[in-house]
Symmetry: C2
């Protein structure tokens, strides 16, 4: 295929009426826990759009349930972690998980989806990166300043590194297990790592992301390493690994690509808010991303973060057309 | 003075017990509205620390009251705007404000503080930048994704530019009025501008920041142009104006300084979370900022954003000592 491939983070989600209809009957966690439903939701955007990949419907925080941290989602709000990790003892008390046992339902959903997808549409599996998982585990939910996370990191570096090592080990094996279940690409989500200074990224996070990515690479499918706000330390972020680096809209795609390691592809990087713009603005912004990629192979078109709930499905269809029309 | 000057954004605030004692008796808005109290709060950190500047106690959203938008602060939460701006008609209906009439109480507080301060401690006045003001006015409060703001910007660009022009005009004149009232430096806060792509900053924001900064420059005192997440478009951000550019911790200070316009100084850039770290980590991080500045004149030491409430006053004192000890 000559056209640039395109898929959307959170392409299965709240902006789709057929997803909202299911959510009227089931909670987010019910959808995740039930392989038939998770597979069904994963396939919803595939039925609507000519996207070039399916992203498994799941949540990066699902491992918190078998870890005993207590996960819930309040209506209209973010995740709540009932028993956040606040000291070294809590880190040491974490059980060692086997993905097949603890998150077998996700792997089962992957198997169901892989069976249903047309051969030209690969399934992308995903998991949270060590830093982003740690930030939720420590904060107990979403955060703007990540104050507790950084305090933990600075004050108890040994416990911090143990926690990130645990998450790296689990998340790397979990990604590999998704590949064995049928995922033909994997994405490591380090959504909030951009809150760190470049020096802190290198010292406190990089080795753990490298470990997770190296465990995932063992599955021998392409791995995408995604983060937002990574511009200031992109060389280190890319150096942690991944065949493709996912960037947000805050950095011009060509500038970012020039800073990657030899041979790494790039994924991105339209601002999700651009899908709320009138067609001429959206067209211009899609065009700018494509122009900066310059038609080089190794570019996967995507947003710089997930589709926002206010998005019209028509806007998604329009972007797919624009990208494929090239 | 040979040592690097140092002050802290939000150095008068919730981390100080003497501030919390006042807040037990008065709301945030009461403190702002009462020149004696605002002046008193401004001076609290000056009594404790050997900081080299006082930052006027006020809030960037105070202009929303005379603009009729309805401003309140819910306990423990961010600002709430009762009548957010959601269409072009609302923009056109905004009154034109005279700072002396509409925010005379802030200027009176500035006069009181200027009278009380020792001569070697200048008062810094401040105001919100057009983008950051618009984002609050449109969202109706804080936001993580700025979806409404960007939708407004893309869908109604004429109304957007009119709104930002109004804010630029007011905020520039308001800053100049603070200088006339005794402020010996001014800071324009563009706290949330880092949510934009570099292309969108240039197209939708830069001309308005330039106007605000140019109106402020007429007052003939140094102007600091501060934003977070500005690394990806720092040349444009600095190009908008300011004698000093304030940066956050996400970009190494020397790399940022090298990208500024000829002669611009730099302010920053310790992560506010570093003040929650043990002394040896805090010392290392302060040292790193100072080393990157290399003792060159034109560096003002500050945090990359405001002091967080969890901070111990002792940590602030420690940073001041470290910076002055050089």
């Amino acid at each position: 295929m000559d056209a640039t491939p395109v898929w959307f983070m959170r392409q299965a989600g709240r902006y789709l009426p057929e997803y909202r209809a299911l959510r009227d009957k089931h909670s987010l966690l019910e959808l995740c826990h039930t392989p038939d439903l998770a597979a069904h939701v994963t396939l919803q955007p595939i039925r609507r759009f000519a996207v070039d990949a399916a992203i498994l419907f799941a949540d990066i925080l699902l491992p918190f349930e078998p870890l005993g941290l207590g996960l819930s989602f309040a209506a209209g709000e973010g995740p709540r972690i009932a028993r956040p990790i606040r000291d070294a003892a809590a880190v040491r008390a974490l059980p060692i998980l086997e993905p097949e046992e603890s998150l077998g339902y996700v792997l089962e959903a992957a198997r169901l989806v892989a069976r249903e997808l047309p051969p030209h549409v690969p399934l992308v599996g995903f998991a949270g990166a060590p830093f982003t998982l740690a930030s939720y585990a420590i904060e107990g939910g979403a955060s703007k300043t990540f104050t507790r996370t950084k305090t933990f990191m600075y004050q108890t570096p040994e416990a911090w590194h143990l926690l990130l090592d645990r998450f790296a080990d689990f998340t790397g094996r979990y990604l590999a297990a998704q590949a064995r279940a049928g995922a033909r690409a994997l994405q490591l989500f380090d959504s909030w790592v951009g809150c760190l200074s470049p020096a802190d990224y290198r010292r406190y996070v990089l080795p753990h992301s490298r470990k997770a990515l190296s465990l995932a690479a063992a599955a021998d499918v392409p791995v995408i390493h995604f983060g937002t706000g990574t511009g200031p330390f992109l060389e280190d972020f890319a150096g942690a690994g991944g065949d493709v680096v996912g960037i947000d809209w805050r950095i011009p795609l060509d500038a970012a690509w020039g800073r990657l390691r030899n041979g790494q592809g790039i994924q991105g990087n339209l601002d999700p808010a651009a899908l709320l713009a009138p067609r001429e603005v959206l067209r211009r912004q899609v065009r700018e991303v494509l122009d900066r990629a310059g038609g080089r192979s190794g570019h996967v078109f995507n947003l710089g973060h997930g589709v926002v709930p206010e998005t019209s499905p028509d806007a998604v269809a329009f972007v797919v057309e624009q990208v494929h029309g090239g």
